[in-house]
């Protein structure tokens, strides 16, 4: 009997195993499987959840149908590390057998995903919001499409505005130490340095850094401004320590610097200090535009528990999902022939989004409008981001010829420089 029981246990285990093996392969002909990958764990959980809202909103609006086929959505989670993104993508692609993968969220994940995309030519990868420049600029994958703009593009117009309108001739950089802020800093410095501005020093800090005292102490007195590319909570920590130490240089903000957590700390950080901070990014909460307002209203209606206004992560995933739906509609849901027709349709898509028209360049990278904003005090006494200017159709090389732009070399801690 003991033998028997053991055998039953073993047989049970084997049966479970083979069930699992067979489970992944059954897919109906008239269903298209779409994997959505975002950070539902770790430091970026809140952002990942908002990404999912963006994707859900687009699929919901389409009634989970595109090109006459039913859309089946399978979600995956990473913790913003490339390893975890790869692990989740492998499961979605190789086990769930998705036809299209939407994601990831964070910069370094995007670089890993591009490399993985090259090994899975049968699947089309649509970027979420990862914004590292080299994901599409250098050595791109033929099946990786990015309908969101990158961190360099997001800063379009900021350097010029800071130099000309705000009158800042020199600035120090305080930024987090990974691929996305490298891109942001390049985007800012390209224009700022070209105008004649100087950046005497750059400080790179780890994500989630708490103690900024050494940096605060080393900021030179003779600069006009500080360029801060830190995620919201880090920015609050840095700014309060900076102010406690008596720092009063005005701030120039990266795309994710001036967010709800900074706005929420306006009492502590001082409205007078924050007001007048210029920034630039792919969306602007307070943009007075019918399409944008309709998008915000739809988001608020669908997700009463969501943010007061969709974040750029919800926006990026929404656009990615919209692109998938538009592409599938174009080809009538036909993904045969290695998805060649579908990919052609994506390439030639002129997508109307809540933030203007989006199209792709030859590297499958979005060309889109960018919003230059400045923090202002509203009639109700609260700060809000006023749109100064919409920079139309910013491309990945910031208007430069591609060869010239590539000569600048990959972004890093030491590139670019203009002391």
């Amino acid at each position: 009997m003991i033998t028997l029981s053991r055998r039953i246990l073993l047989a049970g285990a084997a049966a479970t195993l083979s069930l699992g093996v067979a489970g992944g392969t059954a897919a109906a002909e008239d269903t298209i499987k779409i994997g959505v990958l975002a950070t539902l764990e770790g430091a970026f959980t809140v952002l990942g959840e908002d990404s999912m809202r963006g994707a859900d909103l687009a699929f919901e609006q389409a009634g989970y149908m595109a090109g006459g086929k039913k859309l089946e959505i399978i979600k995956g989670s990473s913790d913003a590390s490339p390893d975890s993104a790869l692990k989740a993508a492998r499961k979605l692609v190789e086990d769930d057998k998705v036809d299209i993968l939407l994601g990831p969220l964070s910069g370094s994940e995007g670089l890993a995903m591009r490399d993985y995309a090259k090994t899975q030519p049968q699947v089309t990868f649509i970027n979420g919001t990862s914004a590292a420049q080299d994901t599409t600029l250098r050595d791109p994958a033929p099946n990786f499409f990015r309908f969101s703009t990158d961190g360099v593009q997001w800063q379009a117009g900021l350097g010029t505005y800071a130099y000309e309108n705000k009158g800042y001739k020199s600035a120090v950089v305080i930024a987090e130490d990974y691929s996305f802020p490298y891109s942001q800093v390049q985007g800012f410095m390209l224009e700022f340095c070209k105008m004649g501005g100087t950046v005497p020093e750059k400080f790179w800090v780890p994500i989630g850094n708490k103690d900024y005292s050494t940096i605060v102490a080393s900021i030179p007195d003779d600069v006009d401004a500080i360029y801060v590319a830190l995620g919201g909570a880090d920015a609050v920590n840095f700014l309060s320590q900076y102010q406690q130490a008596g720092g009063d240089k005005p701030m120039i903000g990266g795309s994710i610097t001036v967010d709800q957590s900074v706005m929420g700390s306006q009492a502590r950080l001082g409205k007078d200090y924050l007001a007048g901070t210029p920034s630039a990014g792919p969306i602007a909460d307070a943009w007075d535009n019918a399409d944008w307002k309709a998008f915000v209203a739809a988001y608020q209606k669908q997700f009463p528990d969501g943010f007061p206004s969709p974040s750029l992560f919800a926006h990026g995933y929404y656009i990615g999902a919209e692109a998938i739906i538009a592409g599938l509609n174009e080809v009538g849901g036909n993904l045969s022939g290695g998805q060649a027709e579908f990919r052609d349709a994506l390439m030639n898509l002129k997508l109307k989004t809540p933030t203007g028209m989006v199209s792709l360049d030859e590297n499958r990278q979005a060309v889109a409008d960018i919003f230059l904003t400045e923090l202002r005090e509203g009639a109700d006494g609260n700060l809000y981001n006023e749109v100064i200017k919409v920079i139309p159709q910013v491309n990945q090389t910031m208007g430069e010829p591609r060869e010239e732009f590539l000569k600048l070399g990959p972004v890093s801690r030491t590139n670019p420089e203009c002391p």
């Binding site: 003991i2 029981s5 995956g76 590390s81 975890s84 492998r90 190789e94 086990d95 370094s108 990974y178």
Partner: protein, 344 residues
Amino acid sequence: MVAVSDKLDEKKAWSPWPLTRNGGILLLLILYPFIASPFWIVQVGAQTFFLGLVALSLMLLAGLGGMVSLAQLTIAGVAGYMWAIFGESTAPISLHLPWYLVLPIALAIAVIFATLIGAISVRTEGIYTIMITLAIGVGFANFANQNYAILNGFNGFAGLSPPPIFGVDWREPMPFYYLALGIAGLAYFGVVYFRRSTFGLSLQAIRDNPRRMETLGFHVALHRILAYALAGFIAALGGIFIVWFNGRISPGSIGLGPMIDILVIAVLGGLRHPIGPFIGALVFVLLDNFAIDLIDRERFNTVIGAAFLLVVLVSPDGLLGLWDRLKRALAKGRDESGNDGFQP
């Protein structure tokens, strides 16, 4: 954390059953790639073997030596980093040496690193060993995050792959699986043999009563440091597989989360027998991949945590302990119902 002895196994009279069972398991493992999809071969199968390898090194230290080291993944990470630095990667730092030089260099440096950890933590006991190895592990991950000269900082290294030995692409599912199976098998039987060797026996004796062993003239510290070195070698093998599998390594790969994962795997499986870490790794990999399908996407980590808690609460000796209890309960049931006409 001191494991129970193996009296159970020894008292049993010889029977053909273990042979059939082990043969059956071996056959299943060998035939597995023919029935499974690439995902199940690599992400579940191979990953079980190499995570099991790293956890096996912890089992050797904790189960046989009574030293719980959280730094075993760090040692694996050192091996992986060395593979990237001396071998091929997309970062300009890499030296592009041939694989037959890189492999021994990477393993040797990892073993030296493990020996140093051993030398530092060997004079501590229990919770202090955990603290020291935790500090070393987290410290190394933070160092890797900020060192750009050698370890390439936050970005780490990408474009890592197994070398094309004998013209085989070892990254293909089947070869990768069998390679992992082979190395894991060797390490497993190595540890099984090690438990019965003179060194292994004295290590277990030191675990049970270091003072008596000291009095008997054994060099306790040296034994422990050597155990660290040996465990370090096994962990380093696992580390090489990890970078081959991920194709990349960065500080996130060796951070606190993955370090704790190894502890979870070892404890989940059970520290009493070398098979424990592999069972733990299998359960962990399955949970890690499929918990998200069982429950609300935002809450799947709760399932993993709950499963771990459940196993540890129900059976302090992990799944192996659970198995033993089941076996005993079945044996008892048989004794009680011995005369009802059924023969075992």
